[in-house]
C-alpha cells in the first residue's frame, strides 16, 4: 500500500459512504457535548421524534457556563442555570453519560477527553466547539462543529465532510530555553496567518514536536483552529501510549497492550505526500505576546508594538490600526512596557498540570503586583486535585492569586468571570478578539510562565531573563 499520512489513515478508516464528487459520510467514534452548543440540537431531535444513535459514544459535560467559585452551590445566573438544567434533562431523556458539577470527572471538555482516556489515537472525534482540534494531539482526527452538525451526529453518529487538504507543519531543531509550546503555536499562527490553514488538516511533525510533552502537544493542536485549519494532529508515539495507560476509559490491562500496538500505527508513513508543507526552525521562536485583536497579531516579547503603516496591504493596515485603537496601544511601545491589570491562567489551551507547574514555578516565593488581579482556573477537578497534592495551590495563593474551580471561565467570559471595560489582561487562553473576555476588555495571549511573570512584575517581561526561568 502506498505511504499514507496520519490524516489519510483515519479518514480512510471512517468513510461510511462517499458521495460521488461530493463530501464523504464519516463515522464518528466519540462525540463530546457541552451545555452551550447542544440545547437546540436536542430540541431538533425531540421535534422529529429521533433518538441518540450511539449513546455509548456520546459523553457530556458542563464547562462553558459554570461558576468557578462554589460550583456545586446554586447558580446565580438564571440563563446559565437554565442551560445547565437543559443539559441534565437532555442527558436523562436521551440516556447519555454526564460528567456533572460535583463529579471528579467534570472539567473543560477538551481537558477531560484526553484525561479520561476517551481521546485515543485513530479515532474520529467531534464536539460543538472549535477547540476540538485539541484532541488531535493524541493522533486522532478531531473536528469542531456547529449545532446543526451536533444534532446530525446525535441522530446518525456520522458527519458529512468535504475531504480537507493535508498540511504538514514541520518544526526542526529544539525550542530555546523559556520558549513554550504556546509560544511555538502563537509564532506559527503569526507566520501562516489566521486563515493560513483554511480547508486543511495540519499535522505537526519534526524534532521539536516529538520533544513536546502530551500537555504541550495539546496546546499546539488546540490553537490550530486559530490558524483556520479544520483540525490539528500529531502522530502517536510512546509518549501517547504512556499518557493513556491506566486512564478511566482506555481498555484494561491485557487489552491495553493490543490497543497500544494498534495505536502506534497512527503515524504518517515514511515518504507520504502532503498537499502542502512548511518548515520552521524551532530555534527561531521566542516567547510571544499578542498585541492586537486576533491571534495572528503577535510579536516576540523583545519586540515593539508594530506600526500599521508598515503592513503590506491596505486591509492589513486598516485592521492593525483598528486593533491598536481597540487595544489602546501606540506603535513603537516596547512590549515589556505594557502594564496589565488582570492575569488569567486557565482555558482548554493552558490549564493542564504542567501549565500550572510552569506558572507556579515562576511565582514561587513572589507576590502578585498590587496593581494586578490574578487568577488560576484548573482545567478539571482532577487537575485541581493533582495540583493541590503538589502544593501548587499554596504557591499561587501565597503569591496572591485566586485559586478557582474547573471551567472555561474567563477564556470566553460566559460565567461571570470577566474583564471590565478598558481592563488589560495577560491571558493563557486562545482568543484576543474584541470583547472576548468581557466587552471593552483587552486581551494579550501568552504562555503560562509569561502570564505568571506579568502578574508579579505588573507588566510583560521576557521570561528568559526571569530569575527562576
Amino acid at each position: 500500500m502506498a505511504a499514507q499520512t496520519l490524516f489519510e489513515k483515519i479518514w480512510n478508516d471512517h468513510v461510511v459512504y462517499q458521495q460521488p464528487d461530493g463530501p464523504a459520510l464519516l463515522y464518528i467514534d466519540l462525540h463530546l457535548v457541552h451545555e452551550v452548543t447542544s440545547p437546540q440540537a436536542f430540541e431538533g431531535l425531540r421535534n422529529s421524534g429521533r433518538k441518540v444513535r450511539a449513546t455509548d459514544r456520546t459523553f457530556c459535560t458542563l464547562d462553558h457556563d459554570v461558576p468557578t467559585i462554589n460550583q456545586t452551590g446554586p447558580i446565580s445566573d438564571p440563563d446559565a442555570a437554565l442551560q445547565i438544567e437543559h443539559m441534565r434533562k437532555n442527558c436523562r431523556d436521551f440516556g447519555l453519560r454526564l460528567f456533572d458539577l460535583g463529579s471528579h470527572e467534570q472539567g473543560i471538555v477538551h481537558v477531560i477527553g484526553p484525561q479520561l482516556g476517551l481521546t485515543q489515537p485513530g479515532l474520529t472525534i467531534v464536539c460543538g466547539d472549535s477547540h476540538t482540534s485539541t484532541h488531535g494531539a493524541l493522533g486522532a482526527l478531531a473536528i469542531g462543529i456547529g449545532t446543526s452538525e451536533v444534532g446530525h451526529v446525535l441522530g446518525t453518529q456520522c458527519l458529512w465532510q468535504v475531504k480537507p487538504k493535508s498540511f504538514e507543519v514541520l518544526v526542526n531543531g529544539k525550542l530555546g530555553r523559556g520558549v513554550s509550546a504556546k509560544d511555538l503555536i502563537l509564532g506559527i499562527i503569526g507566520r501562516i496567518g489566521t486563515s493560513g490553514g483554511t480547508g486543511c488538516v495540519i499535522e505537526y511533525r519534526g524534532e521539536a514536536i516529538e520533544a513536546l510533552s502530551m500537555d504541550e502537544r495539546m496546546t499546539v493542536c488546540n490553537m490550530t483552529i486559530e490558524g483556520g485549519a479544520r483540525a490539528g494532529m500529531i502522530g502517536a508515539d510512546q509518549k501517547t501510549i504512556d499518557y493513556l495507560r491506566g486512564r478511566r476509559f482506555v481498555p484494561s490491562e491485557k487489552e491495553f497492550d493490543q490497543a497500544a500496538a494498534r495505536w502506534l500505527k497512527y503515524r504518517t508513513d515514511e515518504g507520504a505526500h502532503f498537499d502542502r508543507s512548511i518548515t520552521f526552525d524551532a530555534a527561531s521562536f521566542a516567547p510571544q505576546v499578542t498585541w492586537g485583536t486576533n491571534p495572528g497579531m503577535v510579536i516576540e516579547v523583545t519586540g515593539k508594538v508594530p506600526d500599521p503603516a508598515g503592513f503590506d496591504d491596505a486591509a492589513q493596515r486598516e485592521s492593525a490600526a483598528r486593533a491598536l485603537e481597540y487595544m489602546a496601544l501606540k506603535p513603537g511601545v516596547p512590549i515589556v512596557d505594557i502594564a496589565v491589570d488582570r492575569v488569567f491562567i486557565g482555558s482548554c489551551t493552558n490549564s493542564r498540570l504542567t501549565d500550572l507547574q510552569a506558572a507556579a514555578q515562576t511565582v514561587r516565593g513572589k507576590r502578585v503586583a498590587n496593581t494586578v488581579h490574578a487568577m488560576v482556573v484548573p482545567g478539571s477537578w482532577q487537575i485541581k486535585a493533582e495540583a493541590e497534592k503538589l502544593g501548587l495551590d499554596k504557591i499561587f495563593k501565597e503569591a496572591g492569586f485566586e485559586w478557582r474551580e474547573a471551567g472555561c471561565s474567563m477564556c470566553l467570559a460566559m460565567n461571570g468571570d470577566m474583564l471590565q471595560p478598558g481592563e488589560r489582561c495577560a491571558s493563557t487562553s486562545n482568543r484576543n478578539f474584541e470583547g472576548r473576555q468581557g466587552a471593552g476588555g483587552r486581551t494579550h495571549l501568552v504562555s503560562p510562565a509569561m502570564a505568571a511573570a506579568a502578574a508579579v512584575a505588573g507588566h510583560f517581561v521576557d521570561i528568559r531573563e526571569w530569575a527562576n526561568a
Binding site: P23, L118, E149, G155, T156, G199, N294
Partner: protein, 195 residues
Amino acid sequence: MQPFTTVEGIVAPLDRVNVDTDQIIPKQFLKAVVRTGLGQGLFFDWIKNPDFVLNQPRFKDATILVARANFGCGSSREHAPWALIDFGFRAVIAPSFADIFRNNSFKNGFLPVILKEAEVDHIFRAVANHQQPYRLTIDLPSQTVADNAGWSAHFELGEFQKKCLLEGLDDIALTLMQDQEIAAYEKSHPVPYRL
C-alpha cells in the same frame, strides 16, 4: 431547512477582514436554548456605534452582507448565522470564509458566497458610488451574483451543498438513507472504550 434558490436585495458593506463570530454575536447571547430571536445580538458591540453600517438608514432593509476575507473565523457558534438570518440577511459575500462558519451557514439555508478579491472590491465600490441602495441578485441554480447594471460574477459551490440548499433537505433524513452502511460499520467497529 428553508430552501435557498435566489435572493434579490440591498447590499450592506462591512469593510473589515477577519470578522470573528465573537463580533457577529457575543457570548451573552449563547445562553439561549432556542435558535430564534438572536438578531438582537447581531454585531452587538459594534452596533452601539451610531456610525456603524447597519445603523445607516439606506442599509436598513439589506438582505445581503458583503465583507472581507476570513469572515466568520473563531468560535464554532452557530448562533452567528442564526443571528444574521434573524436580523434579515439571506446571504453573505466575501473572498473567503472560516470553514465552520461556512458549514453552519449551509445547514441553515443561509448562503456564504465566495467571490474573488477583485469582484468583492467591485461590490464595495459600487455600494459606495451609489446614492441609492445598491442591489444584487444571487442566483443559486446558475451560481451567479449580478446587479441591474450588467455586472455579474460566478461563484463555486459543491454539487451536494447546492442540492441540499435548493431542496432544503433535512440532513439527518438524507444520511439515514445510508442506514445499512452505518449499521454495518458499527458492527465491525465496536466501541473503543471500557465503559
